[in-house]
């Protein structure tokens, strides 16, 4: 693993214990792995050693970064990228950068976002002879449109006895891996539309297979996403802004600002266009859209529902903490909820989500008795005061976010979403300053990036309709004695 990846950074707030994936990539030594991907006890230890299970993996350690993850991550570092660049041969480089990274690095360098874009494009053009350097919005538009179509279709076909639990976005790889690995029963709820990163890669490679596709992303989990078996070849390497800085150091390019072209606007725009794939709308691709700095899937769903249901109003409801927000579409006359969605992020909220969705259908034990008693207890002098309104309220029109009852939840593992991704460069050290910094980034995201409507049909590039992951629950390895047996 690269030294830059500390265990802490690795997973963006989901501990390694929770995100580590099944060791599927241990092809180096298949003999030591049985059909379930478990290391078998009883085999000679030497074979297991070769798949780099270190003692620290299996001892005194409840969650380990499995060797397979190490391998995956080793394949996705700036060191690998630099090495690959030396062996490119006939291939040309294509670089995609997410809007959160642009804002983050612009702030780090003290540049405007546009100035940073120019430095970034110029750097890759000059230094690595990049053919394309692009934003992510075309991929995101396709992802949003397909996701929303999928949810709308599901909702329209929903019958009374069907599973009414909300659909969950499958865009955040941290959440997806966690769900696949530890919450298999929720996998059917995931909307299996690919992320902008993967869709961009797919489009790009369809147009020109002779490309090496590098992505600069806010979060380390994006590396694991690029390594998914159902997404092979779409992205060749993912690095984070943190690693980008290390790379600049390593190749003795500490001053990115020197790549700022000293020209007037017309030429600037031409650089955007010049480094854009043929037929791709550069301006669109470097834009972003409304509805949350992680991408706005939830908000755009409600917008789409609004266009289908005139005479409705979107209400934004704050949740019990700052990492929950609900968008509710209310009928202007009846005030009934027509559609709703939620943004939810951070591990604690994911936990509550999981607990809630799993409980669904089971009637809580002795609820009636408890409710009766609760009425009585309210009058009791001995009971302490809890004034908070229950978020699990059944009242359809109560104005408290109730994410578990919505149609669609945009889930992100990092608290606050991608704008707080673990791969972003942190400028200040104190925790309160860090929070301020994230708020500043968010402000900059909305103010400095141009906004487009992601629901508008795309004219170019031409794309087919299949951008689906194949999600599946990964069998639990709990309680199976392996070489890495933990106790």
């Amino acid at each position: 693993m690269s030294t830059l990846l500390s265990e802490e950074d690795l997973s963006d707030f989901i501990s390694p214990a929770l995100v580590c994936t099944k060791p599927t990539r241990v092809d180096e030594e298949p003999d030591s792995v049985d059909s379930n991907g478990e290391y078998v006890v009883g085999k000679e230890i030497e074979t297991a050693q070769k798949v780099t299970i270190t003692l620290s993996d299996c001892l005194a350690c409840s969650g380990c970064i499995t060797s397979s993850e190490e391998i995956m991550l080793q394949r996705q570092s700036h060191t690998v990228f630099l090495k690959d660049m030396e062996e490119l041969q006939e291939k040309r480089l294509a670089v995609t950068i997410s809007p959160q990274c642009r804002v983050n690095m612009a702030m780090y360098y003290g540049l405007t976002v546009q100035e940073f874009d120019l430095c970034f494009m110029n750097f890759f053009k000059i230094r690595f002879n990049a053919k394309y350097v692009m934003g992510l919005q075309i991929g995101r538009n396709i992802s949003i449109q397909n996701s929303i179509d999928s949810v709308i279709q599901w909702k329209s076909q929903l019958k009374a006895n069907d599973d009414h639990r909300p659909r969950l976005s499958g865009i955040c790889p941290g959440f997806v891996i966690y769900t696949e690995k530890t919450k298999g029963e929720l996998v059917p709820l995931l909307v299996n539309i690919k992320s902008p990163q993967q869709i961009t890669g797919k489009l790009l490679k369809a147009q020109n297979p002779n490309l090496y596709h590098l992505c600069v992303m806010a979060c380390f989990d994006k590396k694991l996403e690029a390594s998914r078996p159902d997404s092979v070849g779409e992205v060749d390497c993912v690095i984070t802004p943190k690693e980008f800085l290390s790379m600049l150091d390593e190749i003795k390019e500490p001053n990115l600002k020197k790549y700022l072209p000293n020209t007037h606007t017309a030429n600037i725009l031409s650089l955007y266009q010049e480094l854009s794939p043929l037929g791709w709308d550069a301006k669109l691709n470097w834009s972003t859209n409304m509805g949350g700095s992680s991408g706005g899937w939830a908000y755009q769903y409600v917008r789409a529902m609004q266009s289908l249901n005139p005479d409705t109003e979107i209400v934004v409801l704050p949740g019990r903490n700052s990492n929950i927000k609900e968008y509710r579409l209310l009928d202007n006359i009846t005030k009934k909820t027509v559609a709703s969605s939620a943004e939810l992020s951070g591990f604690r909220n994911i936990q509550n989500l999981v607990r809630n969705l799993n409980q669904n259908g089971k009637s809580p034990r002795r609820r009636v008795a408890i409710l009766k008693k609760r009425g009585k207890l309210n009058k009791s002098e001995n009971s302490h005061n809890i004034t908070a309104i229950s978020p699990m309220s059944n009242d359809n029109n109560s104005l408290v976010a109730d994410p578990y009852k919505t149609d669609y939840i945009e889930v992100n593992a990092s608290p606050g979403g991608c704008i707080n991704g673990g791969g972003l460069i942190t400028i200040s050290s104190g925790k309160s300053q860090r929070k301020e910094e994230t708020m500043k980034l968010e402000k900059m995201y909305y103010e400095s990036l141009s906004m487009v409507d992601p629901l508008l049909p795309l004219s170019s590039p031409s794309h087919d309709n299949s951008y689906c992951y194949e999600f599946h629950a990964i069998e639990s390895s709990k309680d199976i004695v392996t070489v890495g047996s933990k106790w």
């Binding site: 006890v41 230890i45 050693q49 620290s56 299996c58 001892l59 309680d479 070489v483 890495g484 106790w487």
Partner: protein, 237 residues
């Protein structure tokens, strides 16, 4: 430091293992030759709540027996509980103190050979050989502090020599030894299991885990892990 201290150990034959001089044969034959041995056996059997000596060798069965006998039934006689509670709940500490071994009058200290005999026949989880044969457990690396008085605390320290410096199974071997000793020795014993100095790359980590009571207790409730341990112990005499 070489990686492989003991990689291809000269496996000892069963009859090469160190034994107690006088009554080694009798012990091997399973006959109860000395008063001391008889008493020790009785104590061990009583501790395990069984009068059936093969049960000692069958850990799973022992487990079941232990479970069956795990608690006095306090719930069944709800009606008569009022009268009984003083008797059940209110056992006087003085009375309850180790009544099982009251009848042992002569102090009978446990010695390293006894500990060796208890552990040397445990199978290695990855070889068809025993810990004694592989020299993972060695008589000279066993330290015992015991005056034989059931009312005094006693201590056993075992230093084990894993076969390779980064053997991942060192913790499993250590767990097997601990389970074996905890089930065989009276409660006055505090058992410390250490990797012999310089024999393992993660010595401190392994030692810490092997001597963490809570971790060991939890491991003993992990069925799969216990299954492996039961296999290791199935070859014990």
């Amino acid at each position: 430091m070489s990686d492989f201290i003991n990689e291809n150990p000269d496996a000892l034959d069963e009859n090469q293992l160190p034994k107690r001089k006088e009554d080694a044969n009798e012990q091997l034959l399973g006959s109860l030759g000395s008063i001391e041995a008889l008493k020790r056996k009785r104590i061990i059997l009583k501790i395990d709540h069984s009068t059936n000596s093969p049960a000692l060798q069958n850990i799973e069965l022992l487990d079941k027996l232990l479970l069956l006998d795990s608690a006095p039934d306090l719930t069944s006689d709800e009606g008569s509980f009022e009268e009984e509670q003083e008797e059940i709940v209110g056992l006087d500490s003085t009375k309850s103190k180790d009544s099982i071994i009251e009848d042992v009058e002569i102090p009978d200290p446990v010695d390293p050979q006894e500990i060796y005999d208890l552990t040397a026949h445990i199978s290695d989880p990855e070889h068809p050989l025993s810990l004694g044969q592989l020299s993972i457990v060695n008589l000279e690396d066993i330290e015992v502090h015991d005056d034989g008085n059931p009312n005094h605390m006693a201590e056993v320290i075992i230093r084990i020599t894993p076969t390779i410096t980064h053997c991942s199974l060192a913790t499993l071997i250590g767990l097997g030894i601990r389970v074996r000793l905890e089930r065989s020795l009276p409660p006055r014993f505090r058992i410390t299991i250490l990797l012999k100095k310089g024999t393992h790359s993660s010595e401190n980590q392994v030692n810490k885990q092997l001597n963490d009571k809570e971790r060991v207790a939890a491991a003993c409730e992990n069925e799969q892990l216990l299954g492996v341990v039961a296999n290791m112990l199935s070859t014990c005499k």
